[in-house]
Amino acid sequence: MDFNDTPEEAAYRDEASAWLKANAPKRAGGAANLLDDPASMEDCRAWQRTKAEAGYACITWPKAWGGGGGAPWQSVIFGQEEARVETPGNPFQIGLGMCVPTVMTAGNEADKERFVRPAVRGEEIWCQLFSEPAAGSDVAASRTRAVRVQGKDGNGEDWVINGQKVWTSGAHYSDFGLLLARTDPDVPKHKGLTMFWIDMRAPGVEVRPIHQMSGASNFNEVWFTDLRVKDAQRVGAVGEGWKTSLVTLMNERLAIGGGGGAGHRTILKLAQDISTLAGSAVKDSALREKIADWFVQAEGLKYTRYRTMTALSRGQTPGPESSIGKVVSASLMQDMANAAMDLEDQFGIIVDPAIAPLAGAFQTALMNAPGLRIAGGTDEILRNIIAERVLGLPQDVRLDKDVAFKDIPTGR
């Protein structure tokens, strides 16, 4: 057990850190509402291009595709060092973490040539069009319909797409989208799906922001009305969309970042200035026990990430322990926020950052936590995944398994 870098890791870290100091842009911007601030988006693109030119974008990808040709542990170390400096937001994450790897695995040669390098260099942004109003946890229930038609100019075949996607991060500033569509409703649901790439600015694509309960709009609905795509835009074979989507989901970036937000330290600080009926809140044993519980959860996640990094640095595949991250951190954030509000007592209802303690950090966390417990796999789905893939328990009963998609009961 050793927290220190190996000499090889330390050398790489020094090199990365020196490069970051010399090259990181001075002006920083946030990832949110990039469309509202074109200059901020330009900063993001410029930073991505700079990294790509130095081999620090997509570190583990082959150099031939514009990547760095490096090892996973290098990617982890660079990520840690990059987090130490102020950098622009990263609107490229979904494209480079999920969509483009899918094109690289399942797409045709022309698409790879066309898309990979510009994406690495931050010239083109991708979004992922999987979730639908009636296909959340059950993504394979996608209803967005793609129908094969004769090509417009008599050449080859086209597809006409109608339907709706939802919870699409970054759709409003994306150039391309990776779309999962129903091409055959007469076969069971997993067998009738096909993957396409689409131009987000093509006629027939409409992006509408979702107004979240927190007040922000980080996601979109995307509507397709007679959107025409060429058969060459198909990613993988017809009817193989589900298999292709698993490639996308497996490529989800190894989440190494911290939980973020206000933590146990902040709550201890808050408690120092607050009174309960029994005296100073910081002396309240019920609160102190909770702080201890939160601390061991947060620390447990941190050291679990260290275990994952250890496996990577030994050239091994990380164990299944990395699957616990989000399911723990999301509820931790929600529980801490709720307890902090209780501590603030009647004052806790105030969200105005100018008045609320700690600029309303816990109020913000309270309103974001529900999203975190749902996005990218709900608590319930993640528990199913741990039970099935880690513990080897049977899959749930699936009544829709061998039924033609069009005959599956839908509720509404």
Partner: protein, 371 residues
């Protein structure tokens, strides 16, 4: 970054697992449980001594293997997994560690070699009544090298050769080494939650006692010993929790209800996923504790408390929900669930309960934040 057991440590661990699978099946644990007059398995104790585990962290000069705290953690995890019914933790995590921490050269030379070969069994005698151990609780007193007072409960006090006792001399707490065969010591075996780990009431009436460490430093020394023991006990708890999860998983795969294995129902799947999550959080905290223990790091008090809190919670949760997963069979004497249920409580309380350790942890965090 190297946040895992090394290959050598993993080898030691897998050898320990094989050894205990053969030498300490649940029949061995039940052999102690079912016979009230027996409070540990003497054959297993001898075999474990022959493996060198008792002296794993004892320097070679004193007959040990001279390995580090992390190797001891690896062994502890396997002992916990097997519910080994032997006075290992009292002897090794508490008394040997106390000797190495505060013993005089003569005390170390006399006792460590005997501990390493299994001739001496130790116990750590601090508590006198219900509630968290505090200085004001300590009534036992030493006067002119003679100890008088009562310690209860003392884990393994019924079979121990020597005790490390917390007592006051001139009103100031200190640690004292007491040979339990000496005149003036009487022991009474207690009925406890987990009969596979015995305990006693030790009564001292002018029993000969040698001071360990500086007089007046008893509470600080006791805490230092507890911090070290907490990390090692956390590994026992993690081992037990992992085994309890495996039991629950295996049963859920083979027990059918309503036409399918119960492990196919989300009520069971999510319960077992929650056990897994707690176990992994506990393991990660325990690894941090192992690092702090092995490195002699200043972070040990925080790391030990975090390891203890997480591991206690994980083992308790795994043990009770494993039993629940087994349904009515889990409530019978014949199925092993209650062995884990008992041990989870025993390990959760033996070095002080969760409430006290949570308080220690937060007090340390306050100190750290203020610094």
């Amino acid at each position: 970054m190297n946040f895992d057991f090394s290959d050598d440590q993993k080898f030691l661990k897998s050898e320990a697992r094989k050894f205990l699978a053969a030498r300490c099946p649940s029949a061995t644990v039940r052999g102690v449980l079912d016979v009230p007059a027996v409070s540990y398995d003497a054959g297993l104790w001898k075999a474990v001594a022959e493996q060198g585990w008792l002296g794993a962290a004892i320097p070679e000069a004193f007959g040990g293997l001279g390995l580090g705290g992390i190797e001891l953690c690896a062994i502890a995890e396997e002992l916990g997994r097997a519910l080994a019914p032997i006075p290992f933790s009292s002897t090794v995590y508490f008394v040997a560690e106390a000797l190495m921490l505060a013993g005089s050269p003569a005390q170390r030379a006399r006792w460590l070699p005997r501990i390493a070969v299994g001739e001496a069994i130790g116990c750590f005698a601090t508590v006198e009544r219900a509630g968290v151990l505090t200085e004001s609780q300590v009534q036992a007193r030493v006067d002119g090298g003679k100890l008088t007072g009562v310690k209860i409960p003392v884990t393994d006090g019924d079979v121990a050769t020597l005790a490390v006792v917390l007592a006051k001399q001139g009103g100031r707490p200190g640690l004292y080494l007491v040979e339990l065969a000496a005149a003036g010591v009487t022991r009474q075996t207690l009925e406890t939650l987990d009969p596979t780990r015995g305990a006693a009431r030790l009564t001292f009436a002018d029993a000969p006692a040698e001071p360990m460490g500086e007089p007046g430093e008893g509470m600080a020394l006791a805490e230092a010993v507890l911090n070290r023991a907490a990390v090692l006990l956390a590994f026992e708890q993690v081992g037990g929790a992992d085994r309890a999860l495996e039991m629950a998983r295996d049963y859920a795969l083979t027990r059918y209800a309503f036409g399918r294995p119960i492990g196919g129902y989300q009520a069971i799947k999510h319960k077992l996923a929650d056990i897994y999550i707690k176990n992994e959080l506990a393991r990660s905290n325990a690894y941090y504790g192992a690092w702090a223990l092995g490195d002699g790091a200043a972070e040990l008090p925080v790391a030990a408390a975090a390891a203890r809190v997480a591991a206690g919670e994980a083992f308790w949760f795994a043990a009770k929900e494993n039993l629940q997963t087994h349904g009515g069979m889990g409530f019978t004497w014949d199925v092993d669930c209650h062995l884990f249920y008992r041990r989870a409580q025993q390990l959760g309380l033996v070095a002080g309960g969760a409430k006290a350790w949570k308080e220690r942890l937060v007090a340390q965090l306050e100190r750290r934040n203020a610094a």
